[in-house]
């Protein structure tokens, strides 16, 4: 213990050397920790949001975009599909499909997307009601937990949605206020960030709107009145007399949804054929979320790998700086080390003294780095939220950080080992007679 204290005192005696070594080390360790933590949390979030979905069906376009929009509510929709095209998949007796959940997107409230769907949707994310009841009538909504807390909405509150998926005050549906019927439990999934309602609500909002001149991102649902309720078993027909009256004159084709989330009964050749069939022979597009997300990760992974390589390089440079500063200080301290020997210290003690100095720098540098990484996460959480639409847990520590500690200790010890061997070999008589 005394030796450890002396190592520390020796380091403190050269505050500039110490600072330089610490800053470099903290930077390297911090960057690595930040990368691993972000990567881990993003991967976790993406995977937990797969929600057992085997296939996503939507309009033609980029399959990745279809998945990002339909499952993660990140990207813009590829477009809408007509309910008529979607109808075969919504058949409860479909031989391959266990569950098909329709989503109608296009509106938002303060940046949170409003999703027109049925009650199978919250079930996918195992989201139950924390308070209130499920939506029943059109224009009733159930809020994800983050929406409720961020927008400070309570049961019975009403709000007006914005057209489009971003906050835009000039484009509000002022005629049709939504009413909060229920609030969901926190699930840690994208479901927390959504406003859920019946598909009818979305249609209703847009039916009252005059056809806008501008078609926005293909998600407009400004079609004339039509009714198709196959996709929403929860919709009470009694609540929607007006629509029912018009149902006769309407066609399925005039109602649209954005995507269909599909769970298969089992994955097999037939389901693969189904996907290929959809992509080749219909106006729809079908994508497998797991495959698209892996593709995305391998794309992002290149960036992560580059930054991680950079971080390891900084860590190695900081190891080098520890080596140089120990090596230099050892030259100045040769007589001091000889003195320690004269006073009774064994060579092993001198070895340990120098190794401790390397380890102290690496441990302190590591701790500072970890602290910096998590502080960065903490203070950039709003920015990250906007970027990824997920709340990152800034103070979640992961196993990789323990591995990083071992790596740091290895670098510290490796940097100190040559100076420590020199200290071990101190020739007392020669040093003192110089």
């Amino acid at each position: 213990m005394k030796l450890l204290k002396l190592s520390f005192q020796n380091l403190l005696h050269k505050p500039l050397h110490l600072t330089l070594s610490l800053v470099l080390f903290a930077l390297g360790a911090g960057l690595i920790a930040l990368m691993v933590t972000l990567n881990k949390q993003i991967t976790q979030k993406f995977e937990s949001n797969l929600a057992g979905i085997d296939l996503i069906i939507g309009a033609k376009g980029s399959p990745l975009q279809l998945v990002l929009n339909g499952l993660y509510h990140l990207d813009a929709p590829t477009g809408n599909i007509s309910l008529q095209d979607a109808k075969p998949f919504l058949n409860p007796n479909h031989p391959l499909i266990k569950k098909a959940v329709p989503l109608s997107l296009g509106d938002s409230y303060r940046g949170f997307r409003i999703v027109g769907t049925n009650r199978d949707f919250p079930e996918l994310y195992k989201a139950g009601l924390k308070e209130g009841v499920w939506w029943d009538k059109p224009m009733e909504v159930v809020l994800g937990s983050i929406v409720a807390s961020t927008a400070k909405l309570k049961l019975g509150d009403t709000f007006i949605s914005s057209h489009g998926l971003t906050t835009d005050d000039f484009n509000q549906h002022e005629h049709a206020p939504f009413k909060v019927a229920g609030i969901l439990n926190e699930t840690g999934t994208v479901c927390d960030q959504l406003v859920l309602t019946s598909a009818e609500s979305i249609w209703e909002v847009h039916e009252h709107q005059a056809k806008p001149a501008l078609v926005e991102e293909g998600e407009d649902k400004q079609d004339p009145v039509a009714t198709e309720e196959t996709h929403d078993h929860e919709e009470g027909e009694a609540h929607d007399h007006e629509h029912e009256n018009q149902a006769d004159s309407a066609t399925l084709a005039s109602r649209e949804i954005t995507t269909l989330l599909i769970q298969f009964k089992a994955r097999n050749v037939q389901t693969l054929n189904l996907q290929r069939n959809i992509n080749q022979n219909t106006q729809l597009q079908a994508a497998t979320p797991a495959i698209e997300i892996n593709r995305l990760f391998s794309l992002m992974g290149i960036g992560f790998d580059a930054i991680r390589a950079l971080a390891w390089m900084i860590a190695l440079v900081s190891g080098l700086s520890i080596f140089i500063s120990l090596y230099n200080s050892l030259k100045e301290r040769r007589q001091e080390l000889a003195l320690l020997r004269v006073l009774g210290a064994t060579p092993a003690k001198l070895f340990a003294l120098i190794i401790f100095e390397g380890l102290i720098i690496s441990i302190l540098g590591y701790l500072a780095g970890i602290l910096i990484a998590h502080l960065v996460m903490h203070f950039s959480s709003d920015y990250l939220f906007q970027l990824y639409k997920y709340r990152f847990d800034a103070w979640q520590f992961i196993r990789e950080e323990a591995v990083l500690l071992l790596g740091s200790l290895a670098i510290g010890a490796a940097a100190a080992v040559i100076p420590a061997i020199q200290a071990y070999r101190t020739d007392i008589a020669k040093t003192l007679s110089d």
Binding site: L6, N10, H13, L339, V342, A345, K349, I428, L432, S433
Partner: protein
Amino acid sequence: MQFPDIHVQDKGHCLILGKSGTGKTTLLHLLAGLLPLQTGEIKIDDQWVKSLGASQLDRFRGKKIGIVFQKSIFIEAISVMENLAWAQHLAGNPVDHGRILLLLKRLGVEHQAHRLPYRLSIGEQQRVSIARALVNKPSVILADEPTSALDDQNADAVIRLLEEQADLESAALILVTHDARIKSHFEQQIILAA
């Protein structure tokens, strides 16, 4: 190199005088156990130095031999007090702050106890070195050219201080120097010739 037989009693004072190149420092290092003997024997406090293992010798040196170097050497990063405490600790003795302060007081540097050693004047540093050589109640005090950088008056004072302190601790004093000015102090003198 050949050296004559030297025998110093407890409380005895011995001057080893020689010009440079006569092996003064080598002799001092041999006596301190810093260099291995090729032939001959050294016995300190009834202990044959040769019979000690490497780490035993390190500890024996710490306990039994106090060394005052020509140039003062300290652990730079810690205070005067801590430097002396480390001397006690490395010799395998318990740290005794009372004794450290007593010695510093006797040598007139008590007020500098908590300063870093290199903040002290050269003279003060030498006094702290002497205090450190005495801190473990050694049997022998070896002093290497303690006066070479001093004027006549100060050289005289340092020699007197060393003799006085060695006597107070009942230690033998062996002084190695080329400084002929201090010849008159010592009854036992050994002159090395090249």
